[in-house]
Amino acid sequence: MGPFMPIKSAIFAEAPSTLAVVVLSNEPLLLLSTDLQIIAASISFCNAFAIDAATIVGRRLGTLGNGEWNMPKLVSLLNATASGNAKIEAYEIDLKRPNQKTRQLVVNAQILDDGQKDHVRLLLAVTDMTDARATARLKDDLLNDKAILIQEVQHRVANSLQIIASILMQGARRVQSDEARDHLQNAHHRVMSISAVQKQLSTSKGGKVPLKAYMALLCESLGASMIADQDRLSIAVKVDDSSVEADVSISLGLIVTELVINALKHAFPDQPKGKITVSYASKGRDWTLMVADDGIGMPTGPATPKAGLGTGIVEALAKNLQGTLEVSCAEPGTAVTVRHNADAEGQTAAPSAA
């Protein structure tokens, strides 16, 4: 009985409710005397660290298990805490046991005294962070892998588009016929228009394309390759701060590409100066896209050229965006407007639903 005497006296002073709170704690907890004897241990502690719950009370911390809790750092910190000289807050320590993986613990210790200097106890909370850390690391790795994968895909898309663009331009440089060259160059512009969306997507968040930056890039690219004299012809971009889904931006971009190509080709045959304005404005779910020029205006009468591929693309995409297409005289010049009215959406899109 001899060795148990001081323990009994320690336990003696403990209220049964205190012991019950410790024993039933979900968080692994130890209630210790200042000489690191265990007054109470939570069942969660015994389960987490494979200690026999029936015999734990009364043992010294250092003798638990195979002595793995006899960590000099921990002991010294607990002693310092008991004497009121230190406080253990989220202190990280490794628990090493033979034939088992090292566990990463986070310990918190607090002194409990009720004003009686001869009755000081320590409350030690031990959290095993090993699994949580491993999960966090795995998540980081997965996110990292995903980012690398996306970069890799973007890289491949960019290279594929570059191959297509290069082949079209080589074709355009080789053909003899002006009409064939024209078609190849237009095909090249369309590829570049879709590529510009890709570039915006790779820098934007959440898969949305900021239209202002996209349209600016698109028109700059069109201007650089189609306008020989930048002082004579210019393209202005007046777009609000809307961001749209990628596929919507591809459609809007292709419409602008076709209309700008058309204006550059036909609106300014002999004009000393000319300006094309691309504008987009939205309000709620309504939006208006307009490409206007200050050129010669629309041809009338029998000289009207027959609608080409560009017109077909614009009409198809405008319809797909549930927009109405309108061509008007801008005096001077021509304005082409695609208007989307959200209220009218259901009427044209799903007549069978009525």
């Binding site: 970069q151 973007q154 890289h155 491949r156 898309v157 960019a158 290279n159 588009l161 570059q162 191959i163 297509i164 663009a165 290069s166 082949i167 331009m169 080589q170 440089r173 590829v191 570049m192 590529s195 570039k199 790779s202 820098t203 690219s221 650089a224 390759s225």
Partner: protein, 126 residues
Amino acid sequence: MKNGRAVVLVVDDIALIRMGAVDLVQSAGYEALEAQDAHEAIRILESRDDIDLVFTDVQMPGTMDGIKLAHFIRNRWPPVQLIVASGRDILEESSLPTGSQYFSKPYNDHAITDAMARLLQSKNSG
């Protein structure tokens, strides 16, 4: 310069892109050379002294990518002008040697030939 024409070395591991770039360089009136990676590019640069500009891709197989190649060239052959193109946005322009030009792929042919003309002109006047 060779026979009064600027010499441009195109470096890209993808054959079709390299072919397109060579065609672009020739259409702009320059002499084109080609290499499929950084090491071949360096071998070519070591073997002749008439190369005015290197137009390189970034991601290439081997131990040296286009950015390292650009720095290597700037150190070893300072007068050679540099244009770097990459499919992987966004390359920090500060990671390239000063004075080099960066373009993201797919690049606009006119933008590349404009940059070439500008760099070659600055080289000759400077």
